[in-house]
Structures are given as C-alpha cells and as structure tokens.
C-alpha cells in the first residue's frame, strides 16, 4: 500500500500546483463579455475591469494615426449611422489589426473603458461575417431551401 500512498501524495501535489496556477491564470486574464448597450449603462463599475465588447464597425469611422487606430462600434449591423448605441474605441496595440478588420465588419475589442467613455482596446479581433460563412439571402433576397430529392 505504501507505494500507492506515495503515488497518491505526488498526484495531489501535482494537481494542487496546477489548480493554483489555473486560479492565478483566471484572475489575471478574466474578461467580461459585454454588449455595447451594457457597457454604456455600467457607468463607473465598468472601469478597471477587462471587458470584451462585441459590435460592428461603423462605415467610414476608422481613423489611422500611426500605429493608433480609432473607430466606432455599434450594437447592430445594418443602418449604422442612426444606431444610438455606439462606442468609441481606440486601439494602440503591438500586433497589426487583422485584414478582416474594415468597415461593417463584426469586431471583438478587448480592453478597458476610460473615464471619458472611450474604450481603450489592447486587442481587436475581427471577423468578416459575410465571408467565412456567407448568407446569400442578405445579398439577393433569395432564401436557400433544401431541395430534397423530389425527383
């Protein structure tokens, strides 16, 4: 039995260390997913927390100034200019922005909210929703239907 006790003790130590590392990792890097609407309503509570905000890039709002990029994000795609729920974002990170980041793209911005309501992103991911998985009906008004073997 002695061997099994020794083995068990080592296992407990290993798992303990890993759990401790994991816990530290979670506190260090946890990020709250928020909608733009929620961010604007959070007020002071939003400061200091790492947030990940999902939204759509406003047409023509991207301004590049050296490595600094600022743009405006909206809650919903479509008629963006009129959407009142908007968030000004400034990105000043090291990595270049992805090629998919452009007007109307869906973007995920990670960062913190400033006191003046500007969101300082440390990371921006973008997906061009219409490209990876296209939705043809948005383009032509046609709906794909499953043409099940009627022949």
């Amino acid at each position: 039995m002695n061997t099994y006790w020794k083995f068990g003790a080592i296992v407990v130590v290993i798992i303990g260390v890993l759990a401790w590392l994991a816990l530290g990792g979670v506190t260090e890097s946890k990020t709250y997913y928020k909608e733009i609407k929620e961010v604007t309503q959070m007020g002071d509570r939003a400061q200091g927390q790492r947030l990940r905000v999902n939204g759509y890039v406003e047409q023509g709002s991207i301004v590049r100034d050296g490595s600094k990029v600022s743009f405006i994000m909206h809650q919903t795609p479509g008629v963006l200019q009129k959407d009142p729920v908007r968030l000004a974002v400034v990105y000043n990170g090291i990595d270049p922005l992805p090629d998919t980041f452009k007007d109307n793209a869906q973007a995920l911005a990670d960062g913190k909210l400033d006191q003046d309501g500007v969101f300082h992103a440390s990371k921006v991911q973008a997906k061009c929703a219409s490209k990876y998985e296209a939705k043809p009906q948005m383009k032509t008004g046609a709906t794909p239907t499953i043409n099940q073997a009627r022949s």
């Binding site: 061997t3 099994y4 083995f7 080592i10 296992v11 290993i14 798992i15 260390v17 890993l18 590392l21 994991a22 530290g24 990792g25 979670v26 260090e28 890097s29 946890k30 990020t31 709250y32 997913y33 990940r52 999902n54 590049r64 100034d65 050296g66 490595s67 090291i94 990595d95 270049p96 992805p98 090629d99 998919t100 452009k102 869906q106 995920l108 990670d110 991911q125 997906k127 061009c128 929703a129 219409s130 490209k131 990876y132 998985e133 296209a134 939705k135 043809p136 383009k139 032509t140 008004g141 046609a142 709906t143 794909p144 239907t145 499953i146 043409n147 099940q148 073997a149 009627r150 022949s151």
Partner: protein
C-alpha cells in the same frame, strides 16, 4: 443533379440505419446472412457518399451558382484547385467531407477485418455506422450541401459567386482541414473496436493490437493538421503568431492530447496488462473530444476568430454527445470486471509510474484547456455573466505542464520496469544531466537567465536529446561490435529491430525540436515604422532599407508591393518583397508577408499599408528566433511516426509479469 446528390445522401442515411440494425440483429440471432448484408450496406454507403461528394465537387468546379453552397464559397475567377478545396470551405461541405472520410474508413475496416473477428465485427460496424448516420442525418435533413437558391418559383442564378476568403487561399490551408478531419474521423475506428470488445466481453488486447496502426496513423494526421494550421497562421496572418489559444485551435488540440496519452498508456496494457479501464476511458474521451471539436468549430457556441456562423446543428451535437457519453459510461461500468489489472504498481520510481505521471499531466492539461475554452459557457451558466479567459491563463498552466512532459520524455524511456535502483538511475542519467547543466550555465552566462522558463526549457531539451543519443549510441555500438559494421548502419539495424521503440525516440526528438522553436518566442523582437522610400530603420542587429513601392493589378486582385533590403553589419542579406492585396470579388485586403527563413532566426516583414498621407509605408518587422525548428521538428516527428509503423525485423513478444516475486523477464523470440 442536386436532386441526385441529395437523394444519394438520403439513401446513404437509410443504408447506415439498415447496417446498424442488420449487424446487431444478425449478431444476436446468429444470422450470418444479415451480418453479410450489413457489411455490403457499409460498402454501399461509401459508394453513395462518394457519388454525392463527386457531384458537389463537379458543381464547384463547373461553377453551378444555382446551388447556395457553390455561390457562397467559390467565384468564377478562382483557380481549379481552390474551387476543389471549397468542398470543405463551408459548413455543409465539410460535414459531407466528414461523412465521406468516415464512410471510406468504415469500408476499409470492414473489408480488412471481416473474416478476423466474427463476433466483434458486427458491433464495430454498428458503432461506425451509428456515427455515420448522425453526420448523414445532419446533411440530409438539417444542412443540405445541395440546397438551391430560390425566389418564388424560379431558381436564381447568382452571377459569379462570392468567392473563398482570400486568407484561406494558401497551400497549407488547402490541406489543413482534410488533415485534421482525417485525424478526427480516424479515432472513430479504435473507439468502435474498443466498444466492440467491451460488448463481447473480450479481455481487451485484441482491439488494441488491431487498432495500433490506425491510432498511430490517425495521430500523425492530427499532428500534421495542427502543424499546418500553425504554419498557415505564421505565414499568412501577418503577425507571426502560430498559436493563440483560440477556441477552435483548442478544439483541435484536445483530442490530440488525449490521443497522445492513449498512445503511451496502451503500452502499459500491452506489456503489463495494467490500466485497462483507463485506456477505455482515454479512447472514448478522444473520440468524444473529436466530435466535440467538430461541434465547437461548427456550431459557434464559443465566439472565435475562425468565425463560423451560428448554426442550427449545435443541439444535435449536444444530443449525440450526451447519449454517446452516457452509453459509453454505462457500458464501461457494466464491464468493469473484465478489465481487471493484471499487475500492481510496485514503485514510484519505475517505468510504470513515469507512464502514469505522463498520463496524469497530459489529462490535466487537456482538462485545463477544455475548462478555459468552455469558461464563457460555464461561467454564464453558473453566474449569469459571460467571462472568458485568455492566452495568459493557458500559457500559465501549459508552460509548466509542457516542461514537465519534456522532463518525463527524457526520464521515462531510461527508467526500468517495475522498480529502479538509485545506482542504475545515476548511471543512466549522469551524462544527460551533466550536459543539460553545462548548457544551462553557458546560456545563463550569455544572459538567458532573464527568461527562466526559456532557460529551463533549453536545459530540458538538452537533457532529452542526450538521453536519446545515448540510447542510440549504446544499442548501435553493441551491434557494431558484434557485426563489425559502421555506426550509422548499426543504428539503422538497431531501429529495424524494434521500430516502435526507436521510432518513438525519433518522435520524441521531433517534439524536442518543436519545443526549441516554441521557446524561441521568448526572444521575439518587433518594430512598427512609417518609412518613405529610401529610408532606413533598425531592428535588432538588422538594418532595413526601403527601396520602393510599386503597385498594379490583375484579374483577381490589386496589389502594392514594397521592396526592402535587409543587411547586417553592412553586409547585404538580400531583398524582401512584402505585398498588400485587395481582392476584387470580396473587397478583402490581405497582406502577403515576406520572410527570410533561417535556422537561427526568421526576419519577418509585413507591409501594413500606406500612411494617411500616402507618402510613407507602414512596416511591421519582426525577428523570430528559432521558429524554423517547429517545422523541422514536425518533419522529424512525422519520420519517427512512419518508422514506428514499419514492422520489426524480428517479432518480439514479451511475457507478462504475472505474480509479484516470480520473474519472467526474458523475451521470447519468434522467427
């Protein structure tokens, strides 16, 4: 035509259901007519799915834009090869590819083993066909690849199509998905055999023996898939990263980890008859993680840069996983008494325990990655707030795990079975430990001590390299002394005697090279500059001179190309041509980075576009030390895996240690 395609998928679905019912009934009623008809149904499923795939490929190649799938994933200007790869460019097509691969695997398995395991095969067939039925159900009723664009009553022919994302038009991306899928799908086969042997109450060695090659080949495909993905991210995405702990990347890593654990713990069962339950759990876990990975990639449950649309298939996957896992757990619990261990753990310092620690650590890593990936979903369910964890979490836990694994890679193979004495350990590990210590002191002297993890990692890599070299050296010099041949022919002869052992060492060597490459990331340099043509900037010991900016366009895209000259200490190193493209069909800009690849470091230049005044080029330049070793490591790993597959020159079969105290350790040799 789309009707024939949809019809053959539907028929194939019916045949899979028939195959499941017929093989189970045939087995229970001892009706060999039914069993054989189930086998034939398996071949028919393959034929039907092949027809469907062929039709989809034909439609893609000829540009039949009436089909929603073709219109969404190709355009008329794309080259033939990318039109073909659009087969797996989207949701429906990739599910069809999954089904086709599984159908092919099933047909091969049934053909090869139909006479061998008469009592087990019907169950194997039914497990394979149940999985196949699930995927065919998805593409025949939920997401048909043959859906036609319709408005009112007429079909719509939509001009030229929307094209494949240009970022994906790169050679590694062409083969990355099928490689990963070959890996994902392949684990269905060992899982089916495991279940078959459980159901038929077999002691549990036959399935391991039969599926050993499958598992190794599948593991190789999976490794290749992951590495191709890394190679693509590195060369195409423009920031030089190859791993970001994105949910979809994690999805591919999870089954790879459990499969690696399985490949190791299987040896415990073969040699010692231990860990039988554990092996069942690992192979089932691997299979379900493969399905889970497909689910994660395909359902959009966790948001990801790989960004596949939200789709209705998620709930079907959840049901399939829940039912499958429940059935497997019940079956394993039911059959526990047939899976008793034949030997006991004798010492903490033994080969057995090193295998167990290897398994423990791998599974812990798998669990941590799974937990981190699913954190948003879990936290939302528990607290109502969606919280995600990022790369720091994964790195923090997986870097120590990786280092511990590398250490075990060195220790495990040299430690004796059952128990090891301190004296033998000292003898075996003296040279490796000394060489690691010397290297670490030397590196620390040159300033690497600022990165403690990197220092430890290089030390451990040296340690493992030394153990592997001593193993080859010892064996090869014995053969050289006996047969009077050179050292290299002797090493080859040695490998041929026990391909699995020495192939395994080569795989370990590949992993070591990859770790060297990953460790190099601690010393990355980067700079972002706006430079006019004729200007210069410095990065590390490189000087980069911008020569000019050209532009032009062709049928598919418009381009701007930068010419830069790199030099070091005033000696020229040649020109680099980073390029920026704007694809016309999709209005998608892409960067074509230019990389000067060398063994010690890569110089990586990205042209990020023109500055606001159109006068200066925005350049991001990086130095990535040692990154090439990742790709070299992969080739070594692949070579080692192939060596493992070569049959031994002499077949070795080890007698098992049966009762403690009675020794039976002489190998019996069969010619």
């Amino acid at each position: 035509m789309e009707n024939i395609g949809a019809l053959s998928i539907l028929l194939a679905f019916c045949f899979t259901v028939y195959a499941v019912v017929a093989s189970v009934t045939g087995r229970l009623k001892k009706n060999s007519f039914l069993t054989v008809s189930a086998e034939r149904a398996v071949y028919s499923v393959w034929l039907l799915v092949t027809v469907a795939s062929g039709l989809l490929i034909y439609s893609l190649l000829t540009g039949d834009f009436r089909l929603a799938y073709v219109a969404a994933h190709t355009d008329s200007s794309m080259s033939k090869i990318y039109k073909f790869t659009a087969w797996w460019g989207g949701q429906q097509g990739s599910l069809l590819l999954w089904s086709w691969l599984l159908a092919s695997y099933s047909a091969v398995v049934v053909f090869m083993n139909r006479r061998k395991f008469r009592d087990m095969m019907p169950w194997v067939t039914s497990v394979l066909m149940t999985t196949e039925a699930f995927f065919l159900m998805l593409i025949s009723f939920v997401l048909s690849p043959f859906a036609v664009l319709e408005a009112g009553r007429g079909n719509i022919v939509e001009g030229v199509g929307q094209g494949l994302n240009p970022l994906l038009q790169y050679w590694t991306m062409v083969i990355h998905p099928p490689m990963l899928y070959l890996g994902y799908v392949g684990f269905t086969v060992p899982f089916a055999f495991a279940m078959g042997s459980l159901i038929t109450k077999q002691p549990g060695d036959a399935w391991i023996h039969t599926t050993r090659r499958w598992t190794i080949v599948t593991w190789l495909f999976q490794s290749a898939g992951i590495l191709l993905g890394q190679g693509w991210a590195y060369a195409v995405l423009g920031w030089g990263g190859y791993w970001a702990w994105d949910p979809v990347e994690n999805a591919s890593l999870l089954p790879w980890i459990t499969a690696t654990a399985f490949l190791h713990s299987v040896m415990m069962q073969e040699k010692k008859g231990m860990m039988k339950v554990w092996n069942m759990v690992l192979i089932s876990g691997t299979f379900f993680l493969c399905i889970f990975g497909t689910f994660l990639t395909r359902s959009g449950v966790v948001s990801s840069v790989h960004a596949f649309a939200q789709s209705p298939i998620g709930k079907y996957f959840v049901i399939f996983l829940a039912v499958g896992i429940a059935a497997t757990v019940v079956l394993i619990l039911e059959r526990l008494k047939y899976l008793k261990s034949e030997a006991r753990l004798e010492s903490v310092v033994s080969r057995e325990s090193s295998f167990m620690f290897n398994n423990l650590i791998l599974v812990a890593s798998c669990f941590a990655v799974l937990w981190g990936t699913m954190f948003p979903v879990i936290s939302e369910a528990l607290t109502g707030e969606k919280i995600s964890v990022d790369a720091p979490f994964f790195n923090r836990i997986n870097i120590p795990i990786g280092l511990a694994l590398i250490l075990l890679t060195g220790i495990g193979p040299l430690i004796a079975w059952r128990r090891s004495s301190l004296e033998s350990l000292r003898r075996a590990f003296f040279i490796p430990t000394m060489s690691a210590a010397v290297l670490m002191i030397a590196l620390a002297f040159f300033g690497v001590y600022e990165h403690p993890y990197a220092l430890v990692s290089f030390g451990l890599c040296m340690f493992v390299t030394a153990t592997i070299i001593t193993e080859f050296w010892k064996g090869a010099s014995a053969i050289r002394a006996k047969d009077g041949i050179g050292l290299i022919p002797a090493a080859i002869a040695l490998t041929h005697r026990n391909t699995r052992r020495y192939g395994g060492y080569l795989v370990h060597m590949g992993i070591v090279f990859m770790f060297i490459g990953y460790t190099g990331a601690a010393f990355d340099l980067d700079v972002t500059k706006e430079v006019r043509p004729g200007g210069n900037f410095a990065l590390g010991h490189y000087n980069i001179h911008v020569v000019n900016i050209e532009s032009g366009e062709n049928d598919t895209y418009a381009w701007q190309r930068l010419t830069v000259e790199a030099s070091r200490n005033a000696s020229p190193l040649g020109q680099l041509f980073p390029e920026r493209r704007l694809y016309k069909a999709s209005q998608q800009p892409t960067s074509e980075v230019s990389i000067r690849r060398r063994l010690n470091e890569d110089l990586y230049v990205n042209f990020a576009g023109l500055s606001a005044d159109n006068q200066r080029a925005v350049i991001q330049a990086y130095v990535f030390p040692l990154v090439s070793w990742i790709w070299i490591g992969f080739w070594v790993l692949a070579f080692g895996t192939i060596v493992c597959l070569i049959p031994n020159k002499v077949r070795l079969s080890y007698a098992r240690t049966q009762v403690i105290g009675v020794e039976q350790k002489h190998a019996t040799v069969q010619k």
